[in-house]
Subunit: 338 residues, 2 copies
Amino acid sequence: MLKFSGQFLAVLLIFPGLAHAFEPFQVLPESPPIPHDNPQSDAKIALGKMLFFDRRLSVNGSLSCNSCHDLTRGGADFRSVSIGATGIAGRRSAPTLWNVAYQTVLYWDGRAASLEQALASHFTDETVMAMPSKQAVVTAIKRVAGYEDYFARSFNGQVVSYENINRALASFIRSLKTPNSAFDKYLAGNKQALSSSARRGFTTFVDSGCASCHFWVNLSGPVPGLAFEMGEGFYELFPNYPGTADESRYHLADDLGRYMITDEATDRRMWRVPVLRNIALTAPYFHNGSVATMEDAIRVMARTQLNKDFNDKQVADIAAFLQTLTGKFPDLIIPRVP
Amino acid sequence: MLKFSGQFLAVLLIFPGLAHAFEPFQVLPESPPIPHDNPQSDAKIALGKMLFFDRRLSVNGSLSCNSCHDLTRGGADFRSVSIGATGIAGRRSAPTLWNVAYQTVLYWDGRAASLEQALASHFTDETVMAMPSKQAVVTAIKRVAGYEDYFARSFNGQVVSYENINRALASFIRSLKTPNSAFDKYLAGNKQALSSSARRGFTTFVDSGCASCHFWVNLSGPVPGLAFEMGEGFYELFPNYPGTADESRYHLADDLGRYMITDEATDRRMWRVPVLRNIALTAPYFHNGSVATMEDAIRVMARTQLNKDFNDKQVADIAAFLQTLTGKFPDLIIPRVP
């Protein structure tokens, strides 16, 4: 995988060939990238929605995907780290699933190159669904007589399989988009869509360097098909300025991030830049969910990443800007699982 | 509270005054009884739906009402007994909430005389939401800025209070109705709505004595305003024939039921007769969730309550009949919690 850090935005702006196709902030595209081997269909999305809410996918029937990635709000939960089916806490905070299909890698450490891959590793994770095996997942779904038809309809007559369970879930998650945020309207030309405070916040966000990493579609860096392909992660060092009071107070440096999976020294405390769309709805913040409010998260980011101290007005303005990233959520009907 | 047991149906049929108003099975009425101090309104139902899905009502943000009373299916969960926010298992199986508003008492032991009262005792129960106090519940909701307006709109300008949280939730739960089951259509005159197997099952159900307790709107005995008022429970002894192999195998007599709260000897192993509407969707069965399938539950009931052994055909027919109690579920849009 390629690795990028630091002033990616500046690099793009310097190289005109890249810059030509590049607008640093973009309206949410209508469709995220769809893998060739898992095309979207209404049937498959509907099946994925059932599975997303079906607690039988956890070892003891206590947890569904929606337990931690709660679609009644930001697509995450209210906890610092989620608690798995058997009561074991996860290591990192559940990220939002809204618009996650526009990300090039999944997980905080970018260890999954696709949604399908990310999903496949949730089921047997003892901190999540805690299933004893992939086969146990398939068996749990096969035991429900009603599912067979839905799978056949979604996968050209194919039966229930681990791959197809994850494909259906991925298709549903790819449908989770929140377009038409105030910021999208602003980008589309309606300058009144942002309050004067939010506009000041946006200016500070760009000028002070937040946008060096938080740019493009999800304000989380490159999107698939534009500079990056799926599987190529956009990582940043966090904390970038080590030894701050925030670092010890919020335990920001305890987790070594991407290093934990690559074992490469240059990956120590490297993290996939997270999605900022709907960030106002996904407190608490950071990989360990250690910071409770958006305002504090803004202050911590300024100090640890930019070595800056924002004043209260700057913080309020940036918070007002981040509020404009809350999109329009679709009306989802609660599925009836078979 | 009044107590009834045994051949209530027979009693009603003997007294013409009561029998006049009495049809042993009834189409689901359009509206359940609504208490005078908590009238239904669209605003209140919408607020109740938000609260129902809001995990902040549990001590650690891990559990919402929907975690155990899962509306994606039967309004219960897939577990024998539910697991509370902190991992402590409850003592009894979560009952369905669909059509529960037609019940005269709530909980398996009937200890709550209204939905509001039942709800109020969930929050500080260590096996459910595990909140430290009622005040903590109010604080959790007050902390969410967005809720204040919804409460004001739902309760004539009143603020967030414990009573109003429970009123809003109760109003939402009163909206959870599943009319138009095949059995409702059959009762309304469409004799073809039941298969021949289901019709045979219905006949066996009545003739063998199941209907002595499982009659009327929810096939769970008297409904509010008709013979019983809210708070008057309809209880039966279970197991009725003690000492069966089922009793020890499924631990049916371990829990002393209503006796646990009244301390009256006549209440030993007395249980509120449970709702049979949508029973096909609410496995596992009984107060301790000890029996996995409807077929086995039918066999156990016949042996422990009626001292009868149904043959396989009778069991299949009764199961076919019980399947016809699955109603039409409304399309509920997943709320957006503030």
